[in-house]
């Protein structure tokens, strides 16, 4: 059992008992569901939009090498630099190098899940570069020294009073500053100062447009626009899979991303950045860098069966519909990408050995696959990851033994009935011998929180008895 898995088990168990926390998430999701349903109505054919998005992403990924080279060439033609990073470490080192060359002491960041993946902010801080998140939700969780809870809504798990308390402590807001307006206003004032003095702006990318060499960034607050406009250096950190073939594709992806992400018809700011400030332009950075990160993505690409995991546009919809996410929340996963997409993708990016357990954090209900706007076959990928873990013997021997016994018992009708009888008897003995849910109870993981009451008779026995009471049909169908 990996360290990550032990941590996951502990945090997931804790969150599953935290009912007030689950209520906050539920309130949030109710708002999202309503907005998403209304947003979908704006499409003549939402399903057609999904199918088309899937096709465009498939096209983009099927020619990934060509699209990336085209993107690189166009960025360079616009006066920007492109760096290809094989690992998280290479990406961090490159960005640190840029910061050092410019003597940067303060860097501002807009939201980027890839920066969470490579732990960029921590690396910059350790090197003496103050790094400040500027998205309100990210800023809040940064002040709390915790990772984002959700891809789109990083502070989803917090109540207003908690944020008020945090701001009072960290920003010196007067006590009683509690309305969302006042709190957002306090963050605006605190961060405005940072925007105006930062030496470097770091953003992620929602899409890399191959045919025009532009980086597309979607946001609501305007913090990304300030981040890529005010500081003298702009660095984009993103994954190689974000490329799309044509600028025209955004006419579809922009509304689809915002609908799936928040239910908005379109997000407030959808920006395109192509290189540093041009001669004659009023403002903008003098230097522009794009860091293209692999960090396991080519391994996922080589897995033809699961290649569509690279289609993900990080809208967070699969988190919002996932009953497991609703219960264990975003922090238990312990990865930059929580929820179904994380559970399916992270084991491929970082290895089944350390992270395969995440693929078991699912009821396989398929809600994620049904909602995914780019039609990623999410829940089947979870099953495929499980299959690979079993075939690589990465599951505990007890599970193998148990499932082996099950297969043996279930493959013969008589054996199945006898095994069932035996199991029911054993459960009754167990209930009499040990206290339900105690440490002696072999079913403790289940019985600790739930009742496990063995039925008095098997289904077959019940069926025979029920049918026996009905004249003319006694015995019919029994044993089928």
């Amino acid at each position: 059992m990996s360290q990550a898995e032990r941590t996951f088990d502990r945090l997931a168990a804790r969150a599953a008992r935290d009912l007030p926390q689950q209520q906050i998430i539920r309130n949030n999701i109710v708002t999202y569901d309503r907005a998403f349903d209304a947003g979908r109505q704006r499409f003549a054919d939402w399903q057609a939009a999904r199918t088309r998005c899937h096709a465009i992403k498939a096209e983009a990924i099927a020619h990934l090498d060509e699209h990336l080279l085209q993107f690189e060439e166009q960025v360079q033609a616009r006066g920007g630099h492109v760096f290809w990073a094989e690992t998280a470490g290479e990406a961090r080192d490159y960005i640190l190098g840029v910061a050092r060359r410019h003597g940067v002491r303060l860097a501002i960041k807009s939201k980027s899940m890839v920066s969470e993946e490579v732990h960029l902010a921590a690396a910059l801080q350790a090197a003496g570069v103050e790094t400040v998140e500027t998205d309100l939700g990210e800023y809040i969780v940064q002040l709390r020294h915790e990772p984002p809870y959700h891809i789109v809504t990083p502070a989803m798990h917090l109540r207003r009073e908690q944020i008020a308390e945090l701001f009072h402590r960290e920003l010196n807001t007067p006590p009683g500053t509690e309305s969302a307006e006042e709190l957002a206003g306090a963050a605006r004032v605190a961060l405005r100062e940072k925007f105006l003095t930062a030496g470097m702006g770091i953003t992620g990318a929602n899409f890399l447009v191959a045919d025009t060499g532009m980086v597309a960034i979607t946001e609501n607050e305007g913090n990304a626009r300030l981040t890529f406009s005010l500081p003298p250096v702009h660095v984009v950190l993103t994954g190689i899979e974000k490329v799309i073939p044509r600028l025209a594709d955004l006419a579809l992806f922009w509304p689809v991303l915002s609908t799936a992400g928040t239910g908005q018809a379109i997000t407030c700011y959808n920006s395109l950045i192509g290189g540093p400030r041009r001669a004659g332009e009023t403002d903008g950075p003098e230097e522009f860098h794009v860091v293209l990160l692999d960090n396991g993505r080519t391994t996922a690409l080589a897995d033809a069966e699961r290649r569509d995991l690279l289609h993900c546009i990080r809208c967070g919809a699969c988190l919002n519909v996932c009953p497991v996410f609703h219960t264990i929340g975003g922090h238990a996963y312990g990865t930059a990408y929580p929820g179904p997409i994380g559970a399916a993708l992270v084991p491929l990016l970082q290895g089944l050995e350390g992270f395969g357990h995440l693929s078991f954090a699912s009821s396989l209900c398929g809600a994620c696959t049904e909602i995914c706007p780019v039609e990623i076959d999410l829940h089947h990928h979870l099953v495929r990851n499980r299959r690979d873990m079993a075939s690589k013997r990465l599951r505990p021997a007890s599970e193998r033994l148990g499932l082996g016994l099950w297969r043996w018992a279930a493959s013969d009708a008589g054996r199945f009935e006898r095994a069932g009888n035996l199991l029911r008897r054993l459960l009754r003995y167990k209930s009499a011998a040990v206290r339900e849910g105690s440490h002696l109870d072999p079913f403790r993981p289940w019985t600790r929180w739930r009742a496990l009451a063995p039925p008095a008779e098997s289904f077959r026995e019940w069926w025979r008895r029920e049918r026996a009471g009905q004249p003319g049909r006694a015995g019919k169908g029994a044993g089928n």
């Binding site: 913090n223 407030c268 391994t299």
Partner: protein, 231 residues
């Protein structure tokens, strides 16, 4: 700085990975090549009346829309600017004297601002300052389907529409297109995509819902977006 040994290795891995047999129905050859610009066609219902739709969408996304004519446009703008100037001056912060309206240096806007008494910072003289109380720009194109305004760095730079607390856009009704596809086509055909370092599709004032999903306008960008649409 340009030493990048990872580049070739990543490209090699991509090529090797793509050589692996993809699942049925999703292989390289099967992916249809669609015509550029048609990505969104058929996905959205058609729009009958672009102006009516633009108006309705502006209302939904909290953009303030003023339909103006040759006769009243200057007065309407003056009133907006005066409102914001008074508001800025009444705020307790010092430095109110430095406060100006940042205006994209364009003949149309020079003409409109002629009779205004507000102190102006023209974009030709440099970028907006943190104390500027509003930004006034033109737009490339307006999008009816989403009630959006498409601007580029050509419209007064990158920050004219996001740094000041108010953004005022002056546009003509002929600039209205129905959907995003048309808007993108327009800026590609006009050469803007090629010639500028930034474009931004703006839909309503800046906002956040990060605190308990409650909508707050004026997150980091403008709290007010006003469009003067010349009929």
């Amino acid at each position: 700085m340009d030493a990048n040994p990872g580049r070739e290795r990543i490209l090699e891995r991509i090529r090797a990975a793509l050589a692996a047999e993809p699942p049925p129905g999703r292989n390289r050859g099967n992916i249809p090549n669609r015509d550029a610009g048609l990505s969104a066609s058929g996905v959205f219902p058609p729009i009958d009346d672009s102006l009516a739709r633009f108006r309705a969408e502006c209302e939904a996304n909290r953009t303030e829309l003023h339909l103006v004519t040759a006769e009243d446009e200057a007065a309407c703008l003056r009133e907006l600017v005066e409102q914001e100037r008074l508001r800025a001056e009444s705020s307790a912060d010092p430095g109110a004297a430095e406060r100006r309206i940042f205006v994209q240096d364009a003949p149309e806007l020079r003409r409109l601002m002629e009779k205004s008494s507000a102190p102006v910072r023209w974009s030709a003289a440099g970028p907006p300052q943190a104390a500027d109380f509003a930004g006034l720009t033109l737009a490339e194109v307006l999008v009816a389907r989403t009630g959006s305004v498409l601007i580029t760095a050509f419209e007064g730079g990158r920050t004219a529409s996001v740094l000041p607390p108010v953004h005022i856009v002056y546009a003509r009704v002929a600039q209205l297109v129905s959907g995003l596809g048309e808007a993108i086509e327009h800026v590609q055909a006009s050469g803007r995509v090629r010639d500028v370092s930034m474009l931004s599709l703006i839909t309503g004032p800046s906002r956040t819902s990060d605190i308990e999903k409650m909508l707050v306008l004026g997150a980091h960008g403008p709290r007010r977006l006003a469009v003067l649409l010349r009929l």
